[in-house]
Amino acid sequence: MEKVLTTHFANERYRRLDTYRQYGGYEALKKAFAMTPEAIIDEVKKANLRGRGGAGFPAGVKWGFLPKDLSRPRALVINADEGEPGTFKDRVIMTRGPHLLIEGIAISSFALRVHACWIYIRGEFVREAKILDEAVAEAYAAGLLGKNILGSGFDLDVTVHRGAGAYICGEETSLINSLEGKRGWPRLKPPFPASVGAFGMPTIVNNVETIADVPWIVTHGGDTFAALGVEKNGGTRLVGVSGPVNRPGVYELSAGANLKDVIYNVAGGMLDGKKLKAVIPGGSSTPVLRADEIDVTFDIESMARIGTMSGTSGVIVIPEGTCMVRALSVLMNFYAHESCGQCTPCREGTGWLKKLVGRIEEGKGRQGDVELILDLCDNMMGRTICALADAAVMPAQSFIWKFREEFDRHIAEQKCPYGNRF
């Protein structure tokens, strides 16, 4: 299958500008400068490029939300705050092909008439931020960023900005607050960032992979990109497989790949002959699937039809022998830790979910605890400023719906049948 991003990722030198250019890097930018901004946006729309950060919003449509009025300066912000458990794909782009991202930024900024871009990268990625900083410096030195890029008259500044350890900052308005030097509290919408975003500017926030796809779309055309995927879901996706499989890692696959095939063929099947028990398909927030539910295509619409999401395409593989209550308990600890505390249903709800699931796992669960968890979930879902509460609720509900007997057994026996271990 044709690859959009990873063709040269095995080459360690591909992260350097000279090697990137040997493989045709920045030719798409030259082509873009010969096009009109509107023509570039049209190609991205035709490409059916869906946001790769988890929500899957069509990138071209998002771009269309910027006001027509050009009197106010605009911003592009790259969401490199990769923090959804099970997700580790953008890190690969940033370390293996940082210039794909930078070229994508330059083209997208030209199309959006943006002259200031910030790449917001999670704080723990110290090495990745350094690689990006070096790549940005190389691009400036070669006249690919800065003033009058390639003689086009177009100016663009790019700054790498490190976060400081907060999952919530992956939410775009929280990310904007954090970029502005504030606590990462999500903002009420409207206004949406496209009207009032970073530093009050109309702002587009896009994921790393989304923007890294843009040079290929400009080179080969939106229709060609769309044809690599399935209907409404163009191109390829970087799929990260983690857990006990023979070949965990990041793979570039068609947006229409089959989930079972991803685990058993692409990732080499289960480690040490283990049996598959469950799969979290798109990062820890997406509803879990039982082993018998995974013979499906992995695109956004197909996953929605079976009640889950392809999310960030971080596939977490759970083997037989895993206590699902314990696994959920790990996730509930995470969401309670990461709730920003702004909205009561989330601040209190994630804390209660952590305590309730934790006590069931410890063998101290009470009759009615499972119903209480489900009731809590009803009082959290959709009742907060951002989606973090939903992100905690979706695993809680789905683990209970699909593996109810394990929760009941913990409560009935007043102990963890798996011995409180993974």
Partner: protein, 157 residues
Amino acid sequence: MSVAFSETGRAEFERLLTRYPDRKAVVLPALYLAQKEFGYVSAEAIVYIAGLVGTSPAEIEGVATFYTMYNRKPVGKYHVQICRNISCSLLGAEHLIEHVSKKLGVRPGETTPDGKFTLATAECLGSCGTAPVMQVNDEYHENLTVESIDRILDQLP
């Protein structure tokens, strides 16, 4: 006791100011700079940054405590953070945390009496394909086993 950036620190601070349309936006990088120069983000460092940025210490404090990577107390020479999230747990992270805890004689959140190691658990470090993972200061160590973790920690000067 008041604190101040070194000359290079001050130059870096001034460079940061040129990258944003608003002075306050340098708070996060300035807190990193303070942590690097002073070892941790002390109460004095917060007052100092507030003065540089032109806002109240309370506001800077509110930002610094929101994020996990600013240490409000001194940490050991090596800050050992082991991921305990789902992909790492599925591949033995709990066992590794217990092992390191026993080896260093401290629980997560504590520092060894000689000040060499602070042990901590971390939420997802975004390296799930090479789980289990730990971060020691700025460095990631991946595909950990009891043997490799021993080797890594034993080799630290």
